[in-house]
Point group: C2
Chain length 162, copies 2
Amino acid sequence: MNVPNGLFVKMVIDAWNKELGATNKLLDKLTDEQLMQEVSPSRNRGIYLLGHLTAEHDQMMPLLRFQEATHPELVPIFLDAPDKAIATLPSLQQLRAYWMAVNDTLMGHIARLPADEWFTRHANITEADFPNEPHRNRLNVVLSRTTHLSNHRGQLTLLTNK
Amino acid sequence: MNVPNGLFVKMVIDAWNKELGATNKLLDKLTDEQLMQEVSPSRNRGIYLLGHLTAEHDQMMPLLRFQEATHPELVPIFLDAPDKAIATLPSLQQLRAYWMAVNDTLMGHIARLPADEWFTRHANITEADFPNEPHRNRLNVVLSRTTHLSNHRGQLTLLTNK
């Protein structure tokens, strides 16, 4: 039995879309005031997690060899630094807009990539090394970022009714 | 280009193992006292999440058509009821042991299943319907439970330093 590549791509992209859809639904429900709260005492605030996820998804674009990141200025704030280390963050209005734009741009690329292309290397592995580690392909980036998103969505959920 | 089925399977099982390994590392670090705390005020306690994940993974066994669940008594407590609805829970000592045993049994089945078999139906879809929805296969169960585990691991992480 030979499973068509497209089926596997569908399984992973469906999981990504499901997780992203659930996160968007949650973010729609959360007020700006709620997003300024910590998910648990002394832990990350919602605003930090939103910026963190936006920066991480933005970085998927070069990693997937689609295009350059659109908001590199988020990296030092939301990937390199922990929450509360940097006094002035972008506003929630800005971050909500970046979040939607980054995911839309990413989804445009994802939807256009032919099934076979998903099994080519991501940007963090060289062409020379890839034949020995064919699992380090572009689809695996989406898979790992889906669990990353789910991890933080579980935390953001705790902000409802706060 | 035809991607071998075994490569897809490896990608998903690797993601499962990575998530499970991170959860086990976290559970080793968390004391029983920490697991009795709520992950955030008025939210689920660690003990409930541990029972919930154990019950969910146990239910993967029939869903994957491996064998019957080994702890069906956990379903009413940790899947049907929310936290704090049931006064007496199994002890943390018991739950930690169940958690390890369930995942070990499950992993034994997972490791033995031939690659092609992963693309056959799971138990919640009929043989008649499966040809029209081939993504509802056994591998997809592992994929969806990986994001489920990640979601709750993100919450359990909040118990460290409590």
